[in-house]
Symmetry: C2
Subunit: 466 residues, 2 copies
C-alpha cells in the first residue's frame, strides 16, 4: 500500500526510498502495521476525560488516501476553557492564524471542538487558505449548533490548498462517529498522523488538593511528529483535554509552563514549522471547585500534572523520530543560567555529528564537547565574545546508563578519561541513553531529548514531499 | 588499504560502514585514488609564490598509517608577515592556543614556517598537549635556525596526545624534502587531509596597481575539510602564501575581510571545531613597494585578490562535503541588513530537511521557506519577537540554474507558483544549483555554500572517530 501511495504522489522519478529498497509508510500505519519495536508505546486502553468525545474518519485529503483516517475531531459536550501555543515561524499556516485569532476573540472561553486534518498543511496558501480554515471551523460549528467554538489544525504538504469541499462535506460524519471509548480516541490519534509510525496517545487520572480522593479527574492527549526530533518542518501537533474546571485566564500560563518543559525541549519553537500547535482544553465536566487563582494549591497541582503529562507526550515524538534507533536525553547541569543550559543542550541535541555518532554507537565525547564549545559563541562575522558560562577546566561529560548501572565518565574537569570502550559499547547498545554535561559554573540545569541520525532518516527525507 | 586502517583503529565492533558495504577512506587518497568526479578539482600544475617551499612526509601520526603523508611543512626563505583566523570554540586545541600567542608576541612579523600534522588534533590534551605544540614548533625553528618563527596546526582525533617524539624526529626530514615544484605543493596539500577525498590546492598570479605588469605576484594556498559543509567538528585548516610585500599590521584585516566572505560562508566560526585555523603569510620575495597603508590602491587590490582566492579555496571544501552529491549556493537578497541575510542563508544552508530534499532532487520550496521563517525567531522559552526582516507577502524563492537557462520561480510574493516539476527535476539533476531567496525588505544580500545530506554522510559520520 505504501508503495502505491508513493507512486501516486511521485510519478516523475524514482526516489532514494525505492533505490535503497526501504520504503517508509507516508501515512499513519493501520493498527497491525506498527513496527514491532514501537508497539509498546501504543496504549491498549485508557481513561478519558468526561464530556469529551473523539473520532477519526477517512476523507481522502490526499487524493490517493482511501485507507487512513485523515480528519480528527475532539469535541466537548460543555464549553471549554482553552489555550494554545503556536509556532513562531514567520510563515504561519492559515489554521494557525485562524485559531490564534479565535482564541483571542473568545478570551480563551467557549470552545467546544478541535478539528484537525492531516495530508495538507494549508500553509502558504494566501487568503484562500484562510477562507478554507474558516470554512472548516464553520462546518464544525454548524454540526455543534454553536458559533465560533472550533479550533482547527492542519498538517501535511505546504503550498497546496485543502480539498475543502470534501472536508466540509465530511464534517457531519466526523460528528456522527464521535465516541468516548479507547478505540475512538486511538482512531482520532491516528487521524492526525503523517510520517509517524505509530499513533501517540496518553491518558491518566489525577486528584486535586481541594477535592482530594472524592473526585477523580482525567486528562488525555495526543500528539504527532514532527518526524525529526528538531521538527523544523514536519508539523508537531498536540491536543490535551481534561475534565477539571479551570478559569479561562489560567489556561495560557498553565500550558506555557508545560510546553516550555516538554515540547519546547525538542526545540519545537526554536526550529519550528509553519503549523506547530499544541492546544489545551478544560471542560470542568468532573466537577469540583473552579481553579481560578494562579499559584493556588489546585493550580500548582494541575500545572505539575499537565507538565508531566506533556513530557510523556513529547517524548513519544522523539521515540518516533524519523529513522531513529535511539532515545537520548541531553542533560546540561551546573550551569550559570537555565538559558545557557538550554542553549547548550539544544546545540548538542541537534548536532549532526553527535547524532550520527550515536547511530554508529561511537562513544565520541569529542563531538559532544565540540558542540558544547560552539553553542554560545558569536555568529560568523561578529566579534569573539567571552562566554564565561563554559570553562574547559570545569567541564565534565558522562554517559548515564538507563539500566541503573554506574555512570561512565568520558571527560573529567576538562581532561579526557581513559575510556573503557567495551563498557561504552555496552551502554551505547541500549535504546535509551543520557548524556550528562556538567559545566561547573553554576547551579541551573536543562534537559533536551533527541534521537540519532540514521540512513533511514536520509531515505525518508530525501523522498518525502512535505 | 582503507579497510585495513579501519580495522586497526576500530577493532571492537563492526560499524555502519562495513554493514552497508560502503567504506570511505579515512585518510587522504593517493593521487590515483581520487574519485573520478572530483579529479577536475585537483590541479595538475601551478604557479607558486617565490621564496616559499613545501613538503609533505609520512610520519605515522596514526599508528596504522604507513602510506599517506601526514606532516606538512610550508617554509619561507625570508621572514614573513603573518596572520591567522582561529576557531571561536571554547575548547581550543593546543596548536590554536600556541599559534595565537606566537603571532601576538611576534606582532604578526618574523614568521618563517607553518608545520601541520593530520591524524591527531592535539585538542583537549591539557598542559601536556600545549607542551607538544611547543615541541613541534621548536623542532621546526631548530631546523630553520630561527627562534619563534613557526606556526603549528593539527587536525584529527580529539583527546589523544600527539606521538610527539615521532613528529619531532621527522621534522628535519620535512625540511630536507622541501621544494617549490607543483608536486611538492600537492604532496603538502595531501598531508593536511583527513576524510577529504581529494587534496585542495590553488595558485594564481596577480599584479598590483603600483607596479603594474612589471611585477608578477603569486599567491598559493591549500585547505582541508571540514568534511561537513558546516564543519562543526572535522577541522577546517587553510594556509595561504603570497610573495607580495605586506606590512605586518595589515595582515589581520586583509585576512579577516577574505575569511568573512569565504570560509565564514561555510559558517566556519559559527559552528566551529576545536582546531579551525586559516593562516596567511606574505614574504615580499617578489619585490615592489611595501603595502603599508590600509585602503591604498595596492591594499584594495590585494584584498580583492585574496578574497576571491579564499572563496575558491573555501568552495573546494564544499565540493568535498562528506557524501555530497551537490554544490548549492544559497543567496538571500533584498534583505534589510547583511547580518539578517547571512543568518537566513546560514539557516537554510544547514537545515537537514533542505539538505535531504536536495539529495532527493525534490523541488521542496516549502522546506526552504520554512527554514527562512524560523531563522530569525527567538529561542525557545523567550518571547515572540517581531522579525520585521521577513514579510511573507514580499518573499520570493527561485532556483537559478547554473547552465544559464531561465530562473525557475517557486514562490512569488508569498504565493506558490504552479511549478513545472519536469523543469524542476531537470535543474535538480545538475551538480550545481543556486537557491535564491528575495526578501523584498531591503537591499543587502549574503551568500552561503552548502551541499546535500546523503546516505554516505551517515555512513561516514556514524563510523569515524574524530
Amino acid at each position: 500500500m505504501a508503495s502505491q501511495v508513493l507512486l501516486q504522489t511521485k510519478l516523475f522519478r524514482p526516489g532514494p526510498a525505492q533505490l535503497s529498497g526501504f520504503i517508509r509508510r507516508y501515512s499513519a500505519p493501520v493498527a497491525n502495521a506498527i513496527p514491532a519495536a514501537k508497539k509498546k508505546y501504543v496504549p491498549t486502553c485508557g481513561t478519558y476525560p468526561q464530556g469529551f468525545d473523539a473520532s477519526g474518519i477517512i476523507v481522502g485529503v490526499k487524493p490517493g488516501n482511501t485507507t487512513k483516517p485523515d480528519v480528527a475531531l475532539i469535541s466537548s459536550h460543555l464549553p471549554c476553557s482553552a489555550a494554545a501555543v503556536f509556532t513562531k515561524n514567520k510563515f504561519q499556516a492559515a489554521p494557525v492564524t485562524f485559531s490564534r485569532d479565535l482564541l483571542k476573540k473568545k478570551s480563551n472561553a467557549g470552545i467546544r471542538s478541535v478539528l484537525i486534518n492531516s495530508g495538507c498543511a494549508n500553509a502558504v496558501t494566501g487568503k484562500g487558505g484562510l477562507e478554507d480554515a474558516k470554512l472548516m471551523a464553520g462546518a464544525a460549528d454548524k454540526s455543534l449548533g454553536s458559533h465560533e467554538a472550533t479550533v482547527v489544525m492542519s498538517t501535511g504538504v505546504i503550498g497546496q490548498r485543502l480539498p475543502i469541499q470534501k472536508i466540509v462535506d465530511n464534517v457531519p460524519t466526523a460528528f456522527e462517529r464521535l465516541g468516548s471509548s479507547h478505540d475512538h480516541w486511538l482512531t482520532c490519534a491516528r487521524a492526525i498522523c503523517t510520517t509517524d509510525t505509530f499513533p501517540k496517545l496518553r491518558s491518566r487520572t489525577f486528584t486535586l488538593p481541594s477535592s482530594g480522593p472524592s473526585i477523580e479527574y482525567r486528562i488525555a492527549g495526543m500528539t504527532k511528529g514532527a518526524g525529526m526530533i528538531h521538527p523544523n518542518m514536519a508539523t508537531l501537533l498536540g491536543v490535551i483535554a481534561t475534565d477539571a474546571p479551570v478559569a479561562p485566564e489560567l489556561m495560557a500560563p498553565l500550558l506555557k509552563h508545560a510546553v516550555d518543559r516538554s515540547f519546547n525541549s525538542l526545540t519545537i519553537d526554536g526550529d519550528t514549522s509553519t503549523n506547530d500547535t499544541v492546544a489545551f482544553l478544560a471542560n470542568g465536566a468532573a466537577g469540583g471547585s473552579d481553579i481560578a487563582e494562579a499559584d493556588s494549591p489546585d493550580y500548582i497541582a494541575l500545572r505539575d500534572v499537565l507538565t508531566d503529562f506533556a513530557i510523556d507526550l513529547a517524548q513519544l515524538v522523539v521515540r518516533d523520530g524519523e529513522g531513529a534507533t535511539k532515545f537520548v536525553t541531553i542533560r546540561v547541569a551546573e550551569a550559570a543560567s537555565e538559558d545557557a543550559a538550554r542553549r547548550i543542550a539544544s546545540t548538542i541535541a541537534r548536532s549532526p555529528l553527535v547524532k550520527t555518532a550515536l547511530y554508529g554507537k561511537d562513544a565520541n565525547w569529542g563531538r559532544i564537547l565540540c558542540a558544547t564549545g560552539y553553542s554560545l559563541i558569536s555568529e560568523p562575522g561578529h566579534d569573539v565574545t567571552p562566554v564565561p558560562e563554559i570553562v574547559p577546566e570545569t567541564t565534565n561529560v558522562s554517559f548515564i546508563p538507563t539500566d541503573g548501572s554506574a555512570e561512565l565518565k568520558l571527560l573529567v574537569d576538562g581532561e579526557p578519561e581513559d575510556v573503557d570502550e567495551a563498557r561504552a559499547a555496552e551502554i551505547l547498545e541500549m535504546e535509551d541513553l543520557e548524556i550528562l554535561v556538567r559545566l561547573g559554573t553554576g547551579k541551573e540545569e536543562a534537559r533536551y531529548w533527541t534521537c540519532d541520525y540514521s540512513h533511514e532518516y536520509i531515505t525518508i527525507n530525501g523522498d518525502y514531499r512535505t
